[in-house]
């Protein structure tokens, strides 16, 4: 979707304000909100692509004016209400009104180190034929899907060159919509600043892109 999350190339958001010796948190609610998002993710009620898509589906102005932890908090509520894990009224009141729905797992404190240390690799075996090799020239497709995609708008319909082959990985465009992991070949594609932006510099942008986003050029 062409949502508010697809930020690459926008102007008008001002200077990058950076802080020396920045603390991990800036307000007391941030660590609690962060931990709630992670802990609810560990219930196995959604995958990472569904979680990202929930953030993208927030109203654009709400997305842009929210801080990172605030945005994740709103998206968490959206997902839990959609799945019936909590009701809007429960969220409003902060009190349980209907029984809990069963979840796949409740992460106990002693399970956390192992869960974090193992993570969730996205590589999957696949019988799909590898369509491109290092050095191949490609063009990204011009697509504007209604659903989730990881092909940024600024890199659609652009010529590039394959510089890395990462193997087959979970395809977010499918996995974010309950259509299965559908592993696809993942490549890093190098685009020149000239092709992306019409800039006469030697600079480049490298983007990780799945094969369905790409077509061969002669």
């Amino acid at each position: 979707m062409n949502g508010p999350h697809d930020m690459g190339g926008f102007t008008g958001f001002g200077a990058v304000l950076h802080e020396d010796d920045e603390p991990v948190w800036h307000d007391g609610w941030e660590p609690r909100a962060f931990a709630l998002v992670l802990a609810m993710g560990m219930t196995g009620s959604w995958n990472i692509d569904e979680a990202r898509h929930a953030r993208e589906r927030l109203p654009a102005l709400q997305y842009w004016r929210s801080s990172y932890y605030e945005m994740r908090h709103y998206a968490l509520i959206l997902q839990m209400i959609e799945l019936g894990l909590v009701t809007a009224m429960e969220e409003e009141k902060g009190r349980m009104a209907v029984p809990a729905k069963p979840v796949k797992r409740v992460a106990k404190a002693e399970m956390i180190p192992a869960i974090l240390a193992s993570g969730g690799p996205a590589s999957r075996p696949s019988n799909r034929r590898q369509g491109f090799s290092i050095g191949d020239k490609i063009r990204t497709r011009t697509i504007n899907p209604e659903g989730h995609t990881r092909l940024p708008r600024y890199a659609r319909g652009k010529p590039g060159e394959i510089i890395t082959v990462h193997g087959t990985h979970v395809f977010p465009d499918s996995n974010a919509h309950g259509h299965g992991e559908d592993p696809q070949w993942l490549y890093t594609v190098r685009f020149t600043a000239k092709d992306l932006w019409g800039k006469d510099t030697r600079d480049a942008v490298c983007i990780d892109l799945w094969e369905p986003y790409l077509e061969a050029t002669s």
Partner: protein, 207 residues
């Protein structure tokens, strides 16, 4: 304002909390009441990213790469395994790639679509990395963004920006500063900043 990260459910300071803080607190109560989350697990998660996982991990990777050519070569071929050998693995670092800065190329990392970041080696991302200005501008005007960080790149050096659109996570290996010959790995690690490992900084030796 740093915070101790502990609960407040038993205090009476609710009226001093912002509306958002109150909503987060209410949500925590609800999710604990419904049995979806273990409050002690929340404390462990917070403590992990507050005190255990942070940019000092990445600095150790960089210092090892500077002092051990075999490790640097391993990092080039299989960064995930090389970094795991130092004990840094897991969530948001499952597929690591190390990007070595050279006199010809300066690497810089962004995630334009969300805020993907290599947590096991750098911890949680700083506010500016997640901000709309950085996410929007890093790909289109990286040299101007670098100037705002006090870094001026010569025209003849390629600035190569890596947009983290998949589950691959990048760690920039900055150039080792001159004047550090013979330094120990620990001394070198002290020099390595978070921004240098994102690519919005360079490492310099003290004069």
């Amino acid at each position: 304002m740093p915070h101790d990260g502990h609960h407040h459910e038993h205090d009476n300071e609710g009226s001093e909390l912002s509306p958002l803080a109150l909503r987060v607190k209410a949500l925590e109560s609800l999710l604990v009441e419904k049995g979806y989350v273990d409050p002690r697990a929340l404390d462990v998660l917070i403590d992990t990213y507050e005190t255990k996982i942070g940019p000092r991990n990445g600095a150790r990777v960089v210092a090892r790469a500077w002092t051990d050519p075999t490790f640097a070569d391993w990092l080039t071929r299989d960064a995930t395994a090389a970094i795991a050998s130092l004990g840094y693995t897991g969530r948001q670092g499952e597929h690591m790639v190390a990007l070595f800065n050279t006199p010809d190329t300066h690497n810089m990392i962004v995630c334009t679509l969300c805020s993907c970041y290599p947590w096991p080696v750098l911890g949680l991302p700083p506010v500016w990395y997640k901000s709309m200005p950085y996410r929007s501008r890093a790909v289109v005007e990286p040299r101007e963004v670098l100037k705002e960080f006090g870094v001026t790149m010569p025209d003849e050096r390629e600035v190569r920006v890596w947009d983290s659109t998949a589950e691959v996570r990048y760690l920039v290996i900055p150039e080792r500063p001159t004047g550090t010959e013979g330094w120990s790995e620990d001394e070198l690690a002290e020099l390595v900043t978070r921004n240098a490992m994102i690519g919005t900084g360079v490492v310099t030796a003290p004069a």
